[in-house]
Amino acid sequence: MSRARVTVRLTVNGRAYVREVEPRYLLADFLRHELGLTGTHIGCEHGVCGACTVLIDGKTGRSCLQFAAALDGASITTVEGIAGEGPLHPVQEAFHEAHALQCGYCTPGFLMTTIEFLAANPDPTRDQIRQALTNNMCRCTGYLNIIEAVEDAARRLRAQEGGA
C-alpha cells in the first residue's frame, strides 16, 4: 500500500490551489477538508445521491467519485463559486423564491445540475426538467418546487440573456 503523496494543481472557483495529497484522496474530501469549501456535501459516496455534485471543467460530476490527483489541472466550480459574495445567481434566486429547498443539504448539487442543464436547454419542458433532475436526490421537497424553480430560473436566464 503506497502512501506517497502527489502534487495536485486545481483551479477552484477561479482561484489556483496547489496541494500534496494521497492519490486516493477524493475530490469531495479535497474540497471540503483541504480547501475548507464545505458547501459541497457528501451523501452516499457511491455516486447515486448527487449531493456532492460540482462542475468539473463546466460539466457536472460526482466529487465523491473523482480522485483529486487525477484531476490535476482541472477547473472546478463549487456552490461557493456560483455567486461568490455578490448577489445570488438567478438559479439561486429562483430556488429561494420557489421554496425549492428545505434542509438544504442536497441543494448545492441541484444548483450545479440546474446551471449545466439550463445552459444547454434554455427553454425546457417540465418533462425535460424532471429527466434532468434525476441527476440528484432530494428527500424533503418532493421535487415539485425544485421543478418550479428550474422553470423560473430558465425564465430569469432567458430574460438576462435577452437584456444583455
Binding site: 500500500m1 486516493r24 477524493l26 474530501d29 448527487g50 460526482r62 473523482q66 490527483a69 487525477a70 441527476n135
Partner: protein, 289 residues
Amino acid sequence: MKPAAFAYHRPASLEEALSLLAVHGAEARVLSGGQSLVPLMNMRILSPAVLIDINRCRELAYIRREGGMIACGALARQGEAEASGLVAATLPLLASALPHVGVRASRNFGTLCGSLAHADPLAELPSVAAALEARFVIASARGRREVGAEAFFVSALTNCIEPDEMLAEVRFPVAAAGARTAFLEVANRGHGFAVAGVAATLEVDAAGRCAGVRLAAMGAGDTTVRLAAAEALIEDEGLSAAAIAAAGEAARAAVEPTADVHASAEYRAGLIGVLVGRALRAMAAAGPR
C-alpha cells in the same frame, strides 16, 4: 466509506499504459471515467494496489468513422457519444440507449469502454453492443486482439480481458440505411437501475419485409443475452402479430434471469418477452429513418 491506498500511475500514451499493465498486471485496475470503479473502491469491494489512470492518453479520446464502423476509443465519454452527431446519424440504437445510462453527471465522465468492461448484466451498453454486434479491441504490450460480445462478456462483472490487457476501443457497425431500432427498459422507478431491458435493431428490405433482426436483453442472466430464437422466428416468419407474439414467448423461454431485491427471475423473464414484443411492434410500425 473511503478507498484504500493505491499506487497511482498516469501514463501519457496507450503504449505507456500497456507497459504499466504488463508490469502490474493482476494487482492493477485501469481508471478512465471511474463511474463504475470508484464506487466499488469507496465501498472497498475492490482495493487495487495499483491504479493506471489513462485519462492523459489523449490518443484514446475519439469517436470516429472508419469505413463501415464507428470506432470509440477508451476515453470516449458516454456524454460525448450522446451529444455526437455522428453517433446520432450512424448508431441510432446507441443514441437512444444513452439517456438511460446512469445520470448526466456519470455520463459526463463515464466512458463507453468503461461501462462495457464493467460487464454489468443490468447495464444498458452491453446489450446495445450485443445487438449491434460490436467488436471489442483488446490491447496489451503483447499485441491486439478483437472479440465479439459473446466472447467479451464472460459472466456478471467479468469480461475476457487478461490482467495485462485493457479494452482500447469498441467498434460499432454503422446502421444500415433504413434500419430501425428500439431500446426499452423497465425500472422500479421512473429512472435508473432497470430490472430488465431490450435493445433491438431491424432491417427491412425494399418491399418492407424483415431482412434481419437483432435482439439483446439486459437483466436476462449473468451477461447480456442475444435472443437468437426470437430473432430466428421473426426472420423466418416476418413481423406479423402472431410472429411477434411468438418471438416474445421465445425470448421469455430463452432467458435465465436471476432474482434480486428488485425483481423476481420470473418477472424479469416475462418482462423481456413483453419488451421484445413492444420493440418489434414499434420497429415494425416505424417508417424508415
